[in-house]
């Protein structure tokens, strides 16, 4: 048996980087922390690649099944005899795949940032947070038990908070960071309660026990019900709520677009490629249980499908390029969720699962690429808005080409990566539920449209008069772009169905052209429409917007979900709950205590009149008292 215990170092290196850069980074020149960070991450990356190679091609497969190996574990905290938190490394196909995704994108973001943030204040702070995030994300993906996942889940949440709020002098960044944290925290409450429920009924946190077919969750599911649904269903739905919060699924998506206030490499790493897919990963991790509770799986599928459509529609109307990408991310994650929702376990039933993981993998590359390109563009133009851009293909040739590759990949044009994964999702949806298929099909067209709207709007379109002619980004930024572009182009050729499947066995697949061709067609239609509307400045977009006035305005305002949240938080929670509580505390609780003291005071004020200082009054009282006593005694004795 190959010893995988070294994999712990994949996590620990970023952690030590965090400590090192965080404490001693400011003793050196800023660039030193960048170089140290990159070097550390490179080591992690190489270790991950090595692990992947060893696992997939050497020792992982036993009798045609990829084994789940605990590479390393240590007891961290014991609650009861059966419930305890192990910190460890679980090696199985999806965790190894995620190791690759996280370390690759993180390495790219590290390298890219040396150029992107050059000369900015807080350079070393940025690198320490980035390392913290990488550590947390790696800890999340290799979690051996659900509580370890929750721990790192919170840690990625906080590193996301710190990185979104990186420009802490900008009020909007501070607000966005706060929003991201609180919304996901709210979702995490669901996750926590889900964990409590699940762990109470199964008496284990361990993933391997939970998901094993003979385990307590699957073989002997708890019989208890609550409001007509089994507790297991409740638990899984609540856990999905946590995943939905992190993965920005409707209606917990509101933090993601705002999170674009963070530096662009952060958006690429956290809010496109890694952290936001944690929800998908969570569902995939617990997938064997989800399969046994169809209602929860239906929820996953429909939330995913609705989010993908909802976000795609909004993405068509936005002008801030990072926001377009953010909504696109939400839409693509909806795709993955939907794919999981339509999947079964094992064999061809499990196509959706494999497709979802495949899409997660390819999406990480092309979406990170899109964001990093957007960063390069913003770096050159100093604006986030599409209407400040146009005709940039001459100024930014490398960015232009890599952006195009990513757009083709996300639109699903063969042979780019997105085609393969998206196609599998559509096939899976088609075989499961026609309505979901229809939604996803429309979304595919919308995706192609808004991505190319962006592409044509930025790189073609009207010529702008730039004050300073935009110039291509430095090499430190373009190398990651090119590297990721290679991923976006070729990742689709990886035989994913041989590596990552729901039952960890090989799944033989053939391209179903009956679905592939229509999906290419609709992508081309989307691109065509974008070409007509945005290649040259025309009046068509305005006319269409005018024709669909109400709907367009609603979509432009993101269907007023933000306003709804603001209403709930500010009006209801702040004004109608917190404020009355504060008032109640001051006036009723405190008032009653003060009231007691007031009554005491008043009583003493009334009584103190006896103490008049008049000698003769005292004497009179004394004498009358003595006489009274004397009379009483006389009466008693006779």
């Amino acid at each position: 048996m190959f010893d995988f215990s070294y994999t712990i170092w994949i996590l620990l290196i970023p952690f030590f980087l965090f400590v090192l850069i965080g404490f001693w980074g400011n003793k050196f020149k800023p660039i030193v922390s960048g170089i140290v960070g990159c070097a550390g991450l490179l080591t992690s990356w190489i270790l991950s690649l090595f692990t992947a190679y060893k696992y997939f091609f050497d020792v992982g497969k036993v009798d045609g099944v990829y084994e789940q190996i605990i590479g390393y574990h240590t007891l961290w905290l014991r609650f009861t005899d059966t419930l305890y938190i192990d910190l460890g490394v679980l090696i199985d196909p999806i965790s190894v795949m995620m190791l690759i995704v996280v370390t690759t994108v993180s390495l790219m973001a590290h390298i890219y940032s040396t150029g992107y943030l050059k000369g900015q204040k807080g350079f070393m702070r940025f690198y320490s947070f980035l390392s913290l995030f990488t550590f947390a994300m790696l800890g999340l993906v290799v979690a051996t038990n659900i509580f370890q996942m929750y721990i790192f889940w919170e840690l990625v949440g906080v590193s996301s908070y710190l990185l979104i709020g990186f420009y802490y002098e900008k009020p909007s960044a501070v607000a966005a960071a706060k929003k991201a944290f609180i919304v996901t925290r709210f979702a995490d409450l669901g996750f926590l309660i889900g964990i409590l429920l699940l762990s109470y009924f199964t008496q284990t946190f361990d993933f391997l026990t939970l998901t094993s077919p003979t385990g307590p969750a699957i073989a002997t599911p708890p019989a208890a019900t609550f409001l007509g649904m089994s507790v297991l269903t409740w638990a899984m739905i609540l856990i999905f709520m946590g995943g939905a919060g992190k993965s920005a699924m409707f209606p917990l998506h509101i933090w993601l677009p705002d999170a674009m206030e963070g530096p662009t490499p952060v958006s690429a790493l956290i809010h496109a490629a890694t952290m936001v897919v944690a929800g998908v990963y969570l569902v995939a991790r617990l997938f064997p249980i989800y399969v046994t509770v169809p209602i929860a799986l239906q929820v996953v599928a429909w939330v995913g499908a609705f989010s993908s459509l909802f976000a795609a529609v909004i993405a068509c109307t936005q002008y801030d390029i990072k926001r377009v990408l953010a909504y696109s991310t939400m839409s693509q994650i909806g795709y993955m969720m939907c794919a999981l929702g339509v999947s079964g376990l094992g064999g061809h039933e499990g196509l959706g699962y494999m497709a979802s993981m495949f899409h997660l993998f390819t999406h990480a590359f092309f979406k990170a690429l899109l964001f990093l390109c957007a960063g390069a563009i913003i770096h050159a133009v100093h604006s986030n808005y599409m209407y400040d851009m146009g005709g940039l293909r001459k100024y930014l040739p490398i960015t232009h080409l890599t952006f195009l590759a990513a757009c083709l990949a996300i639109a699903g044009i063969p042979p780019f990566a997105g085609f393969f994964s998206k196609d599998e999702i559509l096939v899976a949806a088609y075989h499961h539920d026609t309505a979901l298929f229809a939604i996803e099909y429309i979304v595919a067209g919308l995706t192609a449209f808004y991505m190319f709207r962006l592409y044509f709007g930025i790189f073609w379109g009207k010529k702008q008069d730039y004050h300073h002619p935009p110039h291509e980004a430095p090499l430190s930024m373009t190398i990651p772009l090119m590297f990721l572009a290679l991923g976006a182009i070729f990742a689709g050729f990886i035989p994913f169905s041989h590596l990552v499947t729901s039952d960890r066995q090989i799944l033989e697949l053939e391209t179903e052209w009956i679905i592939a061709i229509p999906s290419i067609v609709i992508a081309l239609v989307g691109i065509g429409v974008a070409y007509v509307m945005y290649l040259k400045p025309t009046e068509i977009p305005k006319k269409i917007a005018h024709a669909l006035r109400g709907f367009y305005t609603a979509a432009y305002h993101k269907f007023y979900i933000d306003e709804l949240y603001l209403y709930i938080t500010h009006r209801i929670i702040f004004n109608h709950i917190s404020r009355p509580i504060a008032w109640f505390d001051r006036h009723i609780v405190d008032g009653s205590m003060n009231g007691i003291s007031y009554v005491t005071n008043q009583a003493s004020d009334k009584i103190k009149g006896f103490q008049s200082g008049q000698l003769q009054q005292y004497a009179l009282v004394f004498v009358s008292g003595a006489i009274l006593l004397a009379l009483v005694f006389i009466y008693l004795w006779t």
């Binding site: 960071a177 944290f181 609180i182 709210f186 926590l192 409590l196 205590m593």
Partner: protein, 500 residues
């Protein structure tokens, strides 16, 4: 000689040293030296304790000594520790150590200030090592009384009002406790032999249920007042707001724990059946307290009020967990006491330091402090993150232990209470991030703040110690958890008998 006696002797020696100090400047140095020794002794006690346990010493009480104090009433000075009290001793010594350095720049009557502070801490130490109810109560009073002077003389704002309110409410609480203790005393020997205050002996006695039901509310509410049990928490916001930095630290960090510890060690341990019967009332109150404190904090503008309400919420969680009568939750309660103790001490220390620089405690008047005082700001963020239960800090460990433990109850009432209490983590995130966002981030609006300097060495030492405490527990909680669980055996046995 018993090493635990050192915990009392060192403060007394320190106070003597302070009284004989020639100059005011020497006072703080003497206090610092004394409390450093105290910290070292506590560390030795903890290590020794762990070593004894590892060596297989399973005695219920370690380092026990029994001295007769007043023979007629059978009052003893009986000291000894188990896993729980050792942990509390560690907490106290850390907080008092940090407190001395946090009040390094007190120049108004320093002699009297440090004397009262250390006297207070010696009361706390005495309370935690006492196993005789009478001396326990005595030390409790020693800990509470100097508070009045400390707030009334060195406080700010409406300090006389706050000091009076705090002292009177706590005295009210101790009146209730006294009644309860006497109740225990007079029922301590049903066969008619000599009565005793000895906690361990009383624990062996089967007190009739009616008596238990009568005295349990006295003890639980009495200690609950100090533990900020809703609705008897109202001394806490005003008291903390007026108290000087080190006093807030000690008070929220350690004194409030006396309440929780008393509820655990006296009320629940000695009256388990009544606790079982009446738990539902106090669980409801504690659940309300958890949510109420958190939501109440959202609306506050004064930093100290925010933290006072936050303390109400966190301390209510302690009482909540104690009443779950489940080993895991009980363990969580003790860890929450320690975690909250260090964390809130850190908060109050930082608030004091920030107030010393900005001269305001209103968050809407401050902004952009991250830029001018990065050390303090980062420390504040860390305290905040610890407070909202982030993994890697002690708060997470404690809260999760509580939630997992209390969820092991199979009835709906306890479950619902747990879920409601757990939802406080969201509200906590809201008020913490609100403060952090408003106070530390964004641009500096007040130009005077540009001149603010960052932390001095003693402030760094003070906050650094506390941050080390919360992260050490947060990263490696197992030893603490195991140590505490070791001390929970007797109470769990009693509760198990009571519940069946």
């Amino acid at each position: 000689m018993n090493i635990l006696l050192l915990l009392i002797i060192i403060p007394i020696l320190t106070i003597t040293g302070i009284l004989f100090a020639r100059e005011d400047k020497h006072v703080r140095v003497i206090s610092a030296i004394g409390m450093t020794f105290q910290l070292i002794v506590s560390a030795i006690i903890i290590l020794w304790f762990l070593a004894e346990r590892n060596a297989g010493n399973t005695a219920e009480i370690l380092f026990a000594s029994n001295y007769v104090w007043y023979e007629t009433l059978n009052i003893h000075f009986y000291i000894g520790v188990d896993g729980v009290s050792v942990a509390m001793i560690g907490l106290t010594s850390i907080v008092i150590f940090a407190g001395i350095f946090a009040s390094w720049d007190v120049d108004d009557l320093p002699r009297e200030f440090f004397t009262s502070l250390i006297l207070l801490s010696s009361g706390v130490f005495g309370f935690f090592i006492s196993l005789d109810l009478f001396t326990m109560f005595l030390f409790y009073e020693i800990a509470v009384i100097p508070m009045y002077l400390l707030i009334g003389i060195w406080g700010s704002g409406p300090r006389q009002y706050s000091a009076m309110k705090l002292t009177l409410m706590l005295m009210g609480g101790s009146a209730l406790i006294l009644v309860g203790l006497l109740g225990l005393y007079f029922n301590s020997n049903p066969t008619g032999g000599p009565l005793t205050f000895n906690l361990i002996e009383i624990a062996r006695v089967q007190i009739p249920l009616n008596t238990q039901l009568f005295f349990f509310p006295f003890l639980f509410i009495g200690f609950g007042v100090l533990g900020a049990l809703f609705p008897f928490h109202t001394w806490s916001p005003d008291g903390h707001a007026s108290a000087p930095t080190a006093v807030s630290m000690l008070h929220a960090g350690v004194l409030m724990k006396l309440g929780g510890y008393g509820c655990y060690r006296v009320a629940v341990f000695l009256l388990p059946q009544a606790a079982h019967e009446l738990a539902w009332i106090f669980i409801i109150l504690a659940t309300i307290g958890v949510i109420y404190g958190a939501l109440g904090a959202i609306w506050q503008k004064d930093l100290k009020y925010i933290n006072a309400y936050s303390s109400v919420s966190h301390c209510a969680l302690v009482l909540f967990a104690i009443l779950m009568f489940n080993e895991t939750a009980m363990n969580g309660a003790i860890m929450q006491m320690i975690s909250h103790g260090i964390m809130t001490a850190l908060f109050f220390a930082l608030i004091g330091m920030i107030y010393g620089r900005t001269h305001t405690r209103y968050i809407n008047e401050m902004s952009g402090l991250m830029k001018v005082m990065p050390f303090l700001a980062v420390a504040y963020v860390i305290a905040g993150l610890a407070s909202l239960g982030l993994p890697g800090f002690s708060g997470f460990v404690a809260e999760m232990t509580i939630f997992v433990g209390s969820f092991q109850y199979s009835d709906t009432f306890h479950r619902v209470a747990t879920i409601i209490a757990a939802s406080s983590i969201v509200a906590t995130a809201v008020y913490i991030l609100r403060v952090v966002g408003m106070m530390l981030f964004e641009k500096i609006r007040n130009p005077e703040y540009e001149l603010i300097t960052d932390a001095k060495w003693y402030e760094r030492l003070s906050t650094g110690t506390l941050i080390f405490g919360i992260t050490a527990i947060g990263i490696a909680p197992l030893w603490l958890s195991t140590m505490i669980t070791g001390g929970l055996g007797p109470i769990m046995q009693k509760l198990f008998l009571a519940m069946n």
